[in-house]
Symmetry: C2
C-alpha cells in the first residue's frame, strides 16, 4: 500500500529541522532501521554530504539511520533497496533535473507504489504532484520536463502564503500565480501552509497538521479545507 507524508516545509518558525514532525515520523518509519535521503534539491547550494548530515542529525533523534543516495553507485538501485525514502527541500528544478539525470523517476514510482514509505518536504513534496508547474522556486536549472512523480492526482503548492495585507509590492500574490496556472491547466492545486502535510495511505489522502489548506480547482473560486479533510476526490 502506498504510504506518503507530503509536508509543506521541513521547518516551522522557531523550531528545529523536522522537529514538529518527529513524533509522526517515528510512527511512519517504524519498520525502518535506515532510510535513504535524497539531497538533490541542495538548499542554498550546499553539498549532498552536508545536506545528508543535516537529515542524519534529525533522524538520529528517533533512532533511524540515514544514507545519502549519492553514496551509492546506482541511484535507481539504492531506491529499489531502500526501506524508506526522504526527499528534502531546496530547489525543485535542481531536484527534478537530477532525478531525471540519474534515472530515478521510474525507480521512485515503482518503490513508492509498492509500499516503500516516502517523506517529502517542500521541493520533495512538489515532485509528488502531477507536475512542478506550481513550485515557488526560481528556475535556476532547465530540467528535461516539468512532469513529476504523480503520487497524488493534483499539484502541490508548498509554503502556501496568504496575501500580505497592505503590501506595497506589485509582484503577484501566490493566489494570483495559481489562478494564472489555471489559465493553461485544469488540474487542482493544494496550497499547503507551513505546518500542514498530506498523509497518503493507498487511495486515501488526508490533510494533517493544525492549519487549513487552500484548494484551487479549475473554474471555481479557491476555498479553504479544514485539517482532517480527505482530498482523494480532487482530480
Amino acid at each position: 500500500m502506498k504510504q506518503l507524508l507530503i509536508a509543506s516545509t521541513s521547518t516551522i518558525h522557531g523550531s528545529g529541522y523536522l522537529e514538529y514532525l518527529l513524533g509522526d515520523l517515528e510512527i511512519f518509519f517504524k519498520n525502518c532501521k535506515t532510510i535513504l535521503f535524497i539531497p538533490y534539491a541542495r538548499p542554498g547550494g550546499i553539498s549532498h554530504d552536508e545536506y545528508t548530515e543535516k537529515a542524519r542529525e534529525a533522524f538520529s533523534k528517533i533512532n533511524i539511520q540515514v544514507k545519502g543516495i549519492h553514496e551509492f553507485e546506482s541511484a535507481a538501485e539504492a531506491i529499489k533497496q531502500a526501506e524508506g525514502i526522504f526527499t528534502g527541500g531546496g530547489n525543485t528544478f535542481v531536484l527534478l533535473n537530477q532525478l531525471y539525470k540519474n534515472k530515478c523517476i521510474e525507480a521512485l514510482q515503482n518503490a513508492i507504489n509498492n509500499g516503500t514509505p516516502y517523506l517529502g518536504t517542500s521541493a520533495g513534496s512538489n515532485i509528488c504532484g502531477l507536475t512542478i508547474n506550481t513550485t515557488n522556486d526560481m528556475p535556476i536549472m532547465y530540467p528535461p520536463s516539468f512532469k513529476a512523480l504523480t503520487f497524488v492526482p493534483f499539484n502541490i503548492n508548498p509554503h502556501y502564503l496568504d496575501p500580505i495585507t497592505n503590501s506595497k509590492h506589485m509582484g503577484e500574490t501566490r493566489e494570483t500565480r495559481i489562478k494564472e496556472f489555471h489559465a493553461y491547466n485544469t488540474f487542482p492545486v493544494i496550497g499547503l501552509r507551513e505546518g500542514s502535510w498530506l498523509e497518503v495511505k493507498g487511495k486515501n489522502i488526508l490533510l494533517k497538521g493544525t492549519l487549513d489548506a487552500r484548494v484551487f480547482e479549475y473554474g471555481k473560486e479557491p476555498y479553504e479545507v479544514k485539517t482532517g479533510t480527505t482530498l482523494q476526490h480532487l482530480k
Copy 2:
C-alpha cells in the same frame, strides 16, 4: 544603435499603469507614431486583446498608437516592421514560450540590435537578459528553452524584494534564491527594485529611477549600486 528601457515594473504602488515612466517614454519613443505591443505574458491570464487595450490607454496619454502583435498574420514580420516595441509583464514562461512558438526570438534580436527602441516591464524585462533563470514567476508552462534575448550581458531580477524583517515564513528570500542560482551559473544578476530601470544605449547601460539596485556577481557578496551607475562592465 541599440536602445532599450528595461523596467522592473509597469506600475508602482499608488500610481496608474506606466504612469511613473510616461515622461521618459515620451522622449524614448519620440520618433514613433505607433508601437507594437507584445501581450504574450498575459498577466492574470487576460486575453491578448484586453491586455493590448490596457497598453493602448496608457500610450494614448503621450499620443502614441498601439497595435497588438496578435493582430498581425506574421508576428516576426510585425516585429520587423515596428517603429518601436513594448513587451508587458505577466508570466515570463508563458511569454517566452509564445515568443519561441511564433518565431519572434531572432526577429526581436535583429530589430532591437538594428535600433528599434524597446521597452520591457517585468516579464518583458526578464527576457532581455541571458536567460529566464532568475524570474520570480511560477513555471506554469514549459518553454522549449530558458535562453532569452541577450540584450544585456547579465540576468535581470525584476520586482527585486528585500528580505522582510521579522517574517515567520520559512520560504527562501529573493537573495537566497539568487545565491542558489550562482551555485550553477556564473553570470551576474541585477536585482531591480520597483521604480528602477536600465537605460541601454548602444554599449552603455545606466541604472535609472530613484532607487539603488542590488548586484549579484558570482563568488562575491551582493552589493548595492546607486542610481546613475553604469553597468556595462558586468559580464
